[in-house]
């Protein structure tokens, strides 16, 4: 696994090769990864993998012609061949008159987000963590499945205008699903930078307890219910809203809920959605894939459509500031917010439940997909801990339900937001609270 210094050197070397190959401007992105994952199912470890790779992707520019080539052969010969291919692709590409050139040089310091204990989280330690997550289920006669992963990555970017940035990161992720008797299932997860934050036994206990409580679920009719969504479920909605609606490209092309509605109310004032890679607990990169510094962007500000994210291309094209949200070239998606956070409220999760006369508690969703991008209409299933709330208390488990719901309409009925937030998902992830929504439509059941 190469370190940041070597990553930087590789990126600089690639830029030089690309210029020598005839590029007028050049950019190199180095991505080195060391990934390890221990998976378990049936109360045993059944897959256990590790892989290391280092890839260099080169963007060569001739006039407004652009070519991109990538390789994981990072010796000088491999690198040079890749740069020649990028320059050759640029020579053959048609002009893009709107291309403003590569962004100006940027060589600010970006602190590594690396934990020594995470780096040392080896196969033996991961096996012990897996065993700890399995223990509560095994004790209860249930079956545990899940995984515990450790990622170490180095990202370095250089360009011929002086950009020279690098950052190393570590992340840990653990998930556990407990399957008990009579259809009961439970789930718990952890995402973070520090392995010290992972309490594997506690996760296992939460999952096993939820599986016990969700045994023998009742069937509920489809319909519109008040819901309390746990962070895993909220993260799905927040990320779909951000990814489909909050890129300047989607806004400019009329594909976004923000198109023609910037500054207008789109959700309840209780909803403030931001993209913020700079927050202390974030795991993502603090620069984008052009090496530009990421900035905090308020996507939805107290219910009002705020600012979409941009990159150098779309900033130049629209006259907006570059917010630092470029994806790796070539990029047909436009800039994207990858470090989404929903601002906290002041409620306790238990208080949200206590305020519901009759509703549904959702632990998480499964296989959510978008049916209508402009309304962010989503469909998916509930999974691993769906409960009926009656008179302020979680009373009975409910069989999983399918929902079909415009996300913004649901967020417009927000009645409460918890103070507690959880980081959910991989890479940048989403930092989200519990939400109480007055109206959420379930359209089908499995019977």
């Amino acid at each position: 696994m190469i370190d940041s210094t070597r990553g930087r050197a590789l990126a600089t070397e690639a830029v030089a090769f690309a210029l020598a190959a005839g590029a007028e401007q050049a950019e190199a992105l180095v991505s080195a990864t060391d990934h390890a994952l221990t998976r378990f199912a049936g109360n045993r470890i059944h897959q256990n993998v590790q892989s290391e790779d280092a890839e260099v992707s080169v963007r060569a520019v001739i006039g407004t012609r652009i070519g991109v080539a990538a390789t994981n052969r990072v010796d000088p010969q491999g690198l040079e061949a890749c740069c020649i291919a990028a320059a050759e692709a640029a020579r053959l590409a048609p002009e893009d008159p709107a291309f403003p050139g590569l962004p100006a040089g940027c060589n600010g310091e970006h602190a590594d987000r690396v934990s020594a204990s995470t780096l040392a989280f080896d196969a033996d330690q991961r096996a012990r963590a897996a065993g700890a997550m399995i223990a509560a289920s095994a004790e209860a006669g249930a079956i545990a499945a899940g995984g515990v992963s450790r990622d170490h990555s180095v990202t370095a970017i250089a360009n011929s205008l002086g950009t020279d940035v690098a950052m190393a990161r570590t992340t840990v992720r653990a998930t556990v699903l407990s399957t008990g008797a009579e259809g009961g299932t439970g789930w718990a997860s952890f995402s973070g930078r520090e392995v010290a934050g992972l309490d594997a036994a506690a996760l296992g206990a939460i999952a096993a307890d939820t599986a016990r409580r969700s045994a023998g679920p009742i069937e509920l009719d489809a319909g519109t219910y008040t819901v309390v969504l746990a962070p895993e479920a909220v993260a799905e909605i927040a990320q779909f809203v951000a990814w489909y609606g909050c890129s300047i490209k989607a806004v400019e092309e009329g594909r976004s809920f923000m198109s023609g509605r910037l500054g207008q109310r789109v959700t309840s004032p209780m909803i403030t959605l931001v993209d913020d890679a700079l927050r202390a607990s974030a795991c993502g990169l603090t620069f984008d894939y052009e090496g530009q510094p990421k900035t905090r962007v308020t996507l939805i500000d107290a219910g009002v459509a705020g600012s979409p994210v941009t990159d150098s291309y779309w900033a130049a094209r629209t006259g907006r500031p570059n917010t630092g949200h470029a994806l790796p070239a070539p990029n047909s998606q436009g800039p994207l917010p990858l470090d989404v956070a929903l601002e906290p409220g002041d409620a306790e999760a238990s208080g949200l439940i206590a305020s519901v006369k009759r509703g549904i508690y959702v632990t998480r969703f499964h296989y959510v997909n978008i049916e209508d991008p402009t309304r962010v209409t989503l469909t998916g299933m509930t999974r691993n801990g769906t409960f009926l709330i009656e008179n302020g208390e979680v009373t009975r488990p409910v069989k999983d339900l399918r929902f079909t719901q415009p996300a913004l309409e649901a967020l417009d009925t927000t009645l409460g937001v918890s103070a507690f937030r959880q980081l959910v998902g991989e890479d940048g992830g989403a930092l989200v609270p519990f939400l109480l929504l007055e109206r959420f439509t379930f359209t089908g059941r499995t019977s």
Partner: protein, 481 residues
């Protein structure tokens, strides 16, 4: 390469592996995309590396590296064994692999004109012609087109004596036209959504698509769709085109018959299955006219190979025969767990990933209902839907909901008015049980699908599905309306 793979196997067995295999993969890619007359990307890539998979102390370990050297062969093989030994500390049970004869062989997929020898200019010309043809239609806001190409060469060697070299080429292309109205975006794609048409083959497969020739039709339909009424809610007879049926087969037959899912190995991520091991030969999956096969020998299909990534020879088997569950997609380990031989469905996404049970070409076999026009003529009332737009299915692969790009009412055996945002929902066995007609072989074709995600870390498999249009009774459409 044989000396390198042998170094890996020797190091693994010396470290204590009771079984080992090594896969070396060298791949090359190219992708081009245009949008509204402008090139969005011309890119190429290459990736080279190897992965060592071992059994030690009765458990699995896998390690992979992009450094293909003698030093790393030993280091990575030893690391795989160390990982396996860590695996063995938690609930290990002996790993039993179904028997397999050792093979020494070479296999290559079909390729007429190597797409990597076709100039970038020629490729972009095809995309620009189609792009211009779409944008010639008034009302088209966005026109997109893309192509991608892959050449992959793999070497698999195992401690049981197999040494198998394979190489193949894949070519994909597609176009899409978007019409955007008052808060609405509609899309029409050709030849399919989600990447277009995907084939094992060369440049000739792209030429045969005639993207420019089909562009005016989909552009016109996109504009018409914007003004079309929403698909109404209700329960009706549904006819699906082959491309949508391909995804229906993928989600509701392919995934639930993957034996690793059935046995619970993917429970925490992708989910399990409504199918149980003991259902083989007895479970009523669909109506008696439903026959579904898994076939890794279909020429030109993304789901074809000579041997899977465990070295099991490609084969064709029924998953559903006359409506009854007849088989599983399986690996040597999962098949042995239920007393069967492997179906030859272990596939890995490149050198850095351990193989998983994946689909090959999983197809709804053609029926006898004639052409699509004849099937519509035989239908009193209902809806015909074409081309997938969205998909969702639960963790047991029972409760699904699909959106399509376009629909038409069927009245009196005739295709009537166009319908916008059509979708439908159902429960897997009830849906397949309601299938009462499948079109004839003349309508059957293979649809490649290059975005099948499964496993952790996520692996993307290239698979395929053969299908002809088919009819289903009493299906709920227009969900939530």
């Amino acid at each position: 390469m044989r000396s390198f793979t042998q170094e890996c196997l020797d190091a693994a067995t010396a470290a204590g592996a009771t079984y080992a295999d090594v896969r070396v993969t060298d791949s090359r890619t190219q992708a081009l995309s245009v949008r509204n007359g402008v090139v969005e990307g011309v890119s190429s890539g290459s990736s080279f590396g190897f992965g060592v998979r071992v059994v030690a102390d009765g458990a699995w370990g896998f390690s992979a590296s992009s450094e293909v050297t003698s030093e790393s062969a030993v280091r990575v093989a030893r690391q795989a064994v160390a990982i396996a030994r860590a695996s063995a500390t938690v609930g290990a049970r002996p790993i039993i692999l179904s028997p397999l004869e050792a093979h020494t062989d070479r296999w290559s997929g079909p390729c007429g004109t190597d797409p990597f020898t076709v100039s970038t200019d020629d490729k972009l010309a095809v995309l620009f012609d189609a792009d211009a043809a779409m944008r010639a239609q008034d009302g088209i806001a966005i026109a997109t087109g893309g192509m991608s190409f892959l050449h992959e060469r793999t070497t698999l060697a195992s401690s049981e004596g197999s040494f198998i070299e394979q190489e193949w080429t894949e070519s994909s292309a597609g176009i899409a036209a978007y019409a955007i109205g008052d808060g609405d975006v509609v899309t029409r794609s050709y030849p399919n959504s989600h990447g277009g048409g995907c084939f094992q083959g060369g440049w000739e497969t792209i030429v045969a698509l005639d993207l420019a020739g089909n562009a005016p039709r989909i552009a016109e339909q996109a504009v018409q769709l914007l003004a079309a009424p929403l698909c109404p809610g209700g329960t009706t007879t549904l006819i699906l085109d082959g491309s949508q049926l391909a995804l229906q087969v993928h989600e509701s037959v392919g995934h639930p018959t993957e034996l690793d899912r059935v046995l619970g190995d993917e429970a925490a991520f992708a989910g399990t299955s409504w199918v149980k091991p003991g259902d083989l030969g007895t479970l009523r999956y669909g109506s008696p006219i439903v026959n579904i096969t898994a076939d890794a020998t279909v020429p030109g299909s993304l789901g074809s190979f000579g041997y899977d990534d465990e070295g099991v020879p490609a084969r064709r088997e029924h998953l559903v025969r006359d409506g009854v569950l007849a088989g599983f997609l399986s690996s040597r380990e999962s098949a042995a767990a239920i007393g069967l031989g492997s179906s030859g469905a272990m596939r890995a996404d490149g050198w850095a990933r351990t193989p998983l049970v994946r689909m090959t070409t999983v197809s709804l076999e053609p029926g006898t209902a004639g052409t699509l026009d004849e099937l519509i003529a035989d239908t009193t009332s209902g809806v015909y839907m074409e081309t997938n737009d969205s998909w969702s299915i639960d963790d047991k692969r029972l409760n699904f909901q699909f959106g399509c790009e376009i629909g038409w009412e069927i009245k009196g055996g005739k295709r009537g008015r166009m319908l916008r945002n059509p979708d439908y929902t159902g429960i897997t066995p009830a849906f397949w049980g309601s299938c009462d007609a499948v079109c004839s072989p003349s309508e059957w074709r293979v649809w490649g699908l290059d975005n099948c995600g499964k496993g952790e870390p996520m692996q993307v498999a290239h698979v395929a599905h053969g299908a002809a249009p088919a009819r289903f009774r009493n299906v709920r459409i227009g969900v939530g309306r």
